[in-house]
């Protein structure tokens, strides 16, 4: 599935500006981990929060006043991507533009903070303690709904759920919408994540989380969950300087993950790729990814943004894609491949290339 990249934005633990974050990463900065707030029991559970107060001017939007952090991250990234694409900030789209714009969200854990709080109340106080204010925000498509309402999009709005590859699945889905709907001109693809101690405990039940406030890729000693969001505005053709090709798949068993990833990349047939943006996060993913792709990209540089930004799950593969696009736009790479192995049976790949580069 081929797409034109029009604009992009992100909310990361190292800031929200595209070039700012790229510069800080290039300088070797690593985002600071912090203990999960409100966690019960012993021992710190580290995660990487976003750098600044995500709410900011979004508090002016009545619809999102009671929303969780995930919706704020999503709206911040989504609206900034549109602004980068020429839309006035914090304003509904012009009706003619809204009619031709679709929203596709990538979600992994969703509103996990409100979900845990709601269920905690139910367990402690029984059904009468359940808050009608919390429940609607636990629904996976709540962030997408808030963004659609803010923009005035009354047509196509989809929320996809999956693992840390779901951002690529959302890009592929956006490409499918554009292929099927002649009236659509562009899709805003957003991936977003918030953290909670229960999420940490869930992943730690698989021994996947780092006990230290840092990430070690070699040897892998566990991941640091992180918060954030990423948004890409895509169309059939781009108005920026790069295009994307996307392919996704699944793996029934962990041992098949590398093979399935190679299949995804082979479908994209990347040519003259000199940068690979990997999904190694301090878990089993790194070694499998390296074993699968090293023979295919012997000359390419490997970059692993999750070592510095943490594992932001639904946002992560979109952050990788933006990272690759920025590298190509900035001239530090001729073309870049994005590889994503998820922790829950999904895989995906993207090829980011200058406009008019031949792809299959």
């Amino acid at each position: 599935m081929n797409l034109g990249l029009r604009a992009m934005s992100w909310v990361t633990p190292l800031g929200n500006g595209l070039e700012e974050v790229m510069d800080r990463l290039a300088a070797g900065e690593v985002a600071q981990a912090a203990p999960c707030p409100d966690a019960p029991g012993d021992g710190p559970r580290y995660y990487i929060p976003v750098a600044s107060d995500a709410r900011g001017p979004l508090s002016r939007i009545p619809r999102v006043r009671r929303s969780g952090a995930i919706s704020y991250h999503a709206l911040t990234a989504g609206l900034a991507a549109l602004e980068a694409g020429g839309v006035e900030p914090l304003s509904p789209l012009a009706p003619a533009v809204a009619q031709r714009t679709a929203i596709v969200f990538a979600i992994c854990s969703g509103g996990v903070q409100y979900t845990r709080r709601l269920y905690e109340k139910i367990v402690q106080g029984g059904p009468p303690a359940a808050s009608p204010l919390l429940f609607p925000e636990t629904v996976y498509n709540a962030p997408a709904s808030h963004l659609a309402a803010t923009l005035g999009v009354e047509g196509e709005s989809y929320t996809l759920v999956g693992d840390s590859t779901v951002g690529l699945a959302a890009l592929e889905f956006a490409g499918e919408l554009l292929a099927c709907q002649p009236g659509l001109e562009q899709c805003l693809v957003v991936g977003c994540e918030e953290c909670d101690w229960i999420l940490w405990e869930g992943y730690q039940s698989w021994r996947l989380c780092s006990r230290e406030p840092s990430v070690s890729l070699e040897p892998p000693r566990g991941m640091l969950l992180s918060e954030g969001a990423a948004a890409l505005l895509v169309g059939r053709t781009g108005t920026g300087r790069v295009d994307l090709s996307i392919s996704t798949g699944t793996h029934g068993q962990r041992r098949d993950a590398g093979m399935r990833l190679r299949e995804c990349l082979n479908r994209l047939a990347p040519t003259s790729c000199d940068l690979l943006v990997g999904s190694a996060n301090g878990t089993w993913i790194g070694p499998i990814e390296h074993a699968a792709l090293a023979p295919c990209f012997p000359e390419a540089r490997w970059l692993t943004p999750k070592a510095a930004l943490g594992e932001s799950l639904a946002a992560s593969s979109l952050i990788q894609t933006i990272f690759a696009a920025q590298a190509v736009i900035g001239g530090s790479a001729k073309a870049a491949a994005v590889s994503a192995i998820g922790l829950n049976q999904q895989v995906g790949a993207a090829f980011v290339h200058p406009l008019s580069s031949p792809v299959s």
Partner: protein
């Protein structure tokens, strides 16, 4: 608003699988629909003391498949929703064993939520079994495991979570993929299992009823939750004919809209449902008069039915088309609802009847609808429309057709 590209390819339904509170498989569901037999019973899976509503449409545990053993190793420890999906997949493959999908597009709202609930309740006392349970908490797990059953390991899996429109969105997107030549064969459907958090959540909104679920009745007071799964095999028409596959019907239209009025309440004007239905008609290139039956979303909440009723009357005219909601029998199966009700429409087309709208006592004067009240109605529908609406203002409508006489098995 966008309509589809001119369809390049007709989209056949070659097989289906169905698990609902009314039974496992098409025969049991067909019989229950014809007899207006309800599938609602007291909730057994968790405590409902203090809830407005204490019943639900539940799939009988004893009817679901058990662990599969070595050949389907990944299926051990399946969540209830995964076992429903497995049962649906088995039925689908039993009537079309040659169907091998290129991709799956499945809707759900909560995946394996009850495993997450159990993890929270047990924390930090016991971690035994937590890793396996949590792997089945992920909504894609129930689908990716099925790929092996279909001999299609590795294919892409898209899980749509558009609240209670998810199942219809999944079928609609799969339809568009095939109609426009992006894919040739797609496994589509939806699933959801009852969970305490969602059950109590709807109750906290006072969306659930202490009474019976009475869609479109003047005295309706809310929904009853349900659970289930439905899968359909969608294939490019020419391919299905070429391999002499059974053809159960055809998906011919899909419309989607987003109502931005409120996160959980539809705009009173009915603009959301109206746009979805109009876009589905536009997609199918049909006038409203071509629709022979509407399977309504019909949750029986005051707001939903009011807006849907207004929208149906506005498009189709007063009493012009028979309407029923089957949620009085099944409960509201959330992410599965759109898929289950699309399959009910296929059963109605094949079985030549209109499913009943049970528990209907008194007409609501807000609209003039031809409600298929309380008993199934003999009919020969050829083209039917089914609605699904959800939180977040998501609205989806599908149009299905019985056509191509002589090609049905």
């Amino acid at each position: 608003m966008p309509s589809s590209f001119p369809p390049l390819q007709r989209v056949a339904v070659t097989s289906l699988g169905l698990v609902t509170p009314l039974g496992i498989g098409r025969a049991e569901n067909l019989d229950a629909l014809r007899c207006a037999r309800p599938g609602i019973s007291p909730v057994r899976q968790f405590e409902t003391e203090g809830c407005r509503c204490r019943v639900a449409g539940q799939v009988k545990e004893s009817r679901l498949p058990v662990d599969e053993g070595r050949t389907l190793q990944g299926l051990r420890g399946l969540h209830r929703s995964g076992r429903m999906m497995l049962a649906a997949a088995r039925e689908l493959l039993s009537s079309d064993p040659a169907f091998v999908p290129e991709a799956s597009v499945i809707g759900t709202t909560s995946g394996g939520m009850s495993f997450g609930e159990a993890f929270f309740r047990d924390f930090p006392k016991s971690r035994r079994g937590a890793p396996r349970r949590l792997s089945h908490y992920a909504p894609q797990k129930a689908v990716v495991d099925l790929h092996e059953v279909f001999g299609a390991s590795g294919i892409p899996c898209q899980i749509i979570a558009n609240a209670c429109a998810s199942g219809a969105n999944a079928i609609g997107h799969a339809f568009q993929l095939i109609a426009n030549g992006v894919r040739r064969r797609v496994l589509a459907g939806g699933y959801d299992a009852l969970s305490e958090l969602v059950y109590v959540g709807f109750d906290s909104l006072q969306a659930s009823t202490p009474d019976r679920c009475r869609p479109f009745d003047k005295n309706r007071s809310g929904l009853v939750m349900g659970e289930g799964a439905a899968l359909i095999a969608l294939e490019a028409w020419d391919d299905a004919l070429a391999r002499r596959a059974p053809i159960l019907g055809e998906v011919i239209g899909y419309g989607i809209s987003t109502d931005n009025h409120h996160l959980t309440q539809p705009h009173p004007s009915g603009i959301g449902p109206r746009l979805a239905m109009e876009r589905a008609l536009q997609s199918a290139r049909l006038a409203p008069a071509a629709i022979d039956y509407i399977n309504a979303h019909g949750t029986a909440t005051p707001f939903n039915d009011a807006t849907e009723g207004v929208a149906i009357e506005a498009i189709f005219g007063p009493g012009a088309v028979p309407v029923s909601s089957t949620k009085g029998q099944t409960g509201h199966t959330l992410g599965a609802a759109g898929a289950i009700e699309a399959v009910f429409c296929l059963l109605a087309l094949e079985g030549e009847f209109l499913p009943p709208n049970v528990n209907y006592v008194e007409a609501d004067p807000q609209w003039h609808l031809d409600i298929v009240a309380n008993t199934a109605r003999p009919a020969q529908p050829r083209t039917v429309l089914t609605n699904s609406f959800g939180f977040g203002g998501t609205n989806a409508s599908l149009i299905l057709r019985r056509d191509g006489e002589g090609v049905y098995s």
